[in-house]
Amino acid sequence: MRRRIDVLVCSGAACVSAQSAAVRAALEREIDARNLHDEIRLVETGCMGPCELGPVLLVYPDGAFYIRVAPEDAGEIVEEHFLKGRPVRRLLWESPDARRIAEGKKQVPFFEKQHKTVLSNCGEIDPESIEEYIAAGGYEALGRALTESGPQKLIETIIASGLRGRGGAGFPTGVKWRFVAQESSPVKYVVCNADEGDPGAFMDRSLLEGDPHTVIEGMQIAAYAVGATHGYVYVRAEYPLAIKRLKHALAQARASGLLGPNVLETDFSFDIEVRIGAGAFVCGEETALIASIEGERGIPRTRPPYPSSSGVFGRPTLINNAETWGNIRHIVLNGAEWFSSIGTSKSPGTKVFALSGKVSNTGLIEVPMGTTLRELIYDIGGGIPDGKALKAVQTGGPSGGCIPAEHLDTPIDYESLQELGAIMGSGGVIVMDEDNCMVNIAKYFLEFTCDESCGKCVPCRAGTRQMLNILDRITKGEGRPSDIERLHSLAETVVETSLCGLGRSAPNPVLSTLKHFGDEYRAHIEEHSCPAKVCTALIRFVIDAETCKACDKCRPVCPVTAISGTPGTPPYRLDAEFCVRCGRCAEICPFGAIHIETGPVKRDI
């Protein structure tokens, strides 16, 4: 009997953490119990995007999209929906009307504005099935490249497409290919940089988990174009699921004659090895990554020579980011013109973003370049939860910067973001609301880069430490009037004199917050006040004598017994000297009688 329903169970890492495997098992049991296993197929897919709402299920052909499914829901879904044809409304996104359910997930605003190219298979096919990848058009681009195009034409196509590196710097991909192709070495390498280390970034991981073959195919096409015979995927050990699925995909491709000697029975031979990194942020820098592949300690070296002439083991090496590789097969299949018609003229194509922070729909998304931050955060991200106001958007992780709310209509492309003091980066987007202290945010990112600095060059090793010390004292209310100027001059030195991109971009979060949120720095230094009421040294909890009902809820939760009072006899008292500012009293107070104050203590005279 023919199958009539495909149930796609998201098995991206976020849904896996939310127990998607248990949901899958429960569905399987319920389907078996009703003897429906011939009619219904369960498929595990990669990330579908809305990670916040996991585990999610997508049911075809009607396209119903279930969110936050628990194993206990499986019986109802199978009985009501799969057997009787009535989708379980309480689990559907937004409980749309019947017509919308029938029309599928594209009607959900989160998906409606997206333009999935690199992620077109992610969440739609089983990443562990090479047949499904082939059915979705996989390896056709490789086949055409090997039999029809020829290396020269492939490089010209990639140059003409205008594709730029998706790792963040935005260097024209095709030009890089040409550099490597022009080298006359008998041994050349192709490398996939999947050493994604930015806090809040999960684009490369999701791509490798959801559609590993697409990365493999991109690397193969490039290897053929530049004359490489060996490839490496450098991926961090923190990504066990991505590594597992990638290795599985490589083995499948090898077994099918799509990877290894004489690919597709042509003269082209190429194989890929997985190199697992120990999770040092600096290994995302290409020269450090190469050192790590060679078995050396992952520290960068000066360039030139660039990897295109002297990379892995001193051989010409082509390094591209995982998402860049994910674009290649689409360009080969659809042509350079098709690609450059998407996005903006200087930044063509789409970009994958990992949306996180204070936004309703956190998750993985893909939009055309030139989409505005407002569309990203409000239309796709669903806006800021709890009715709070958006304050800033952080792009590019620790190397990027904060963009204030007034620049929300900036189109996202490499140049526009740079003008604002941020960078495109690899695609991490962190949304901040009024409760985020920008000085504290800058400190957080600098802590990260300071910690991850490899220590080879002084400006990065010592400069970031000195900047961090200054930020630390500012957030403790011990800032000095000269600190802002000192931060500026230190930042300038670190940017100009650091050896590699890590140091050169590390001051960005500080510089961009100084530029756009200078008032907050001054408030910390001059008034000892934290306007967002975050920095614990600058805030105090106060019980409002008028509102307090002496209900005695706050007193027992205080971990340091700083609250005293008699039940029924308001007001309670909070001893600021003992208070550790954990905020538990304010959280539990049913009357909102405990609030936070900052700045100098106001006394009635």
């Binding site: 009997m1 023919r2 009539r4 052909p61 009607d62 057997l83 044809g85 599928g104 499904e132």
Partner: protein, 120 residues
């Protein structure tokens, strides 16, 4: 594997993804409310699935819906052919289902004596 073999695999395997494409020419919707099931809608569905599968009709998808209040005519089946009126069949049986697949889905002629409604 040669490129031609790859394309053959694609041909075969693409059937696996038909349901997910959402570009089917024909959509058959079976009323599977309580009264529909009581009147034998499961058998009707099984017959549809079997016949569609035997004839290898890759552009047909089968979905279900709840009861539509036509209890006296159950099992009820709607056939949506792209660009044509929706045809509703009533009092379906497994045999009639097979008849609808052959005459309506394949040959393009609605089985008029089973039709209970035609909608724009």
């Amino acid at each position: 594997m040669k490129l031609e073999e790859l394309r053959q695999i694609r041909e075969r395997a693409s059937k696996e993804l038909t349901l997910r494409k959402g570009d089917a020419r024909v959509r058959v919707v079976i009323g599977m409310g309580t009264s529909g099931i009581a009147a034998g809608a499961r058998d009707v569905m099984a017959a549809f699935l079997d016949e569609i599968s035997t004839r290898n009709l890759t552009d047909v998808v089968l979905t279900q819906t709840g009861g539509r209040g036509l209890a006296s005519s159950e099992p009820v089946v709607e056939v949506h052919v792209e660009g044509e009126h929706t045809v509703v069949y009533g009092r379906m049986t497994a045999d009639r289902a097979r008849q609808v697949v052959v005459e309506h889905l394949v040959n393009g002629n609605a089985v008029s004596d089973l039709v209970i409604e035609v909608r724009e």
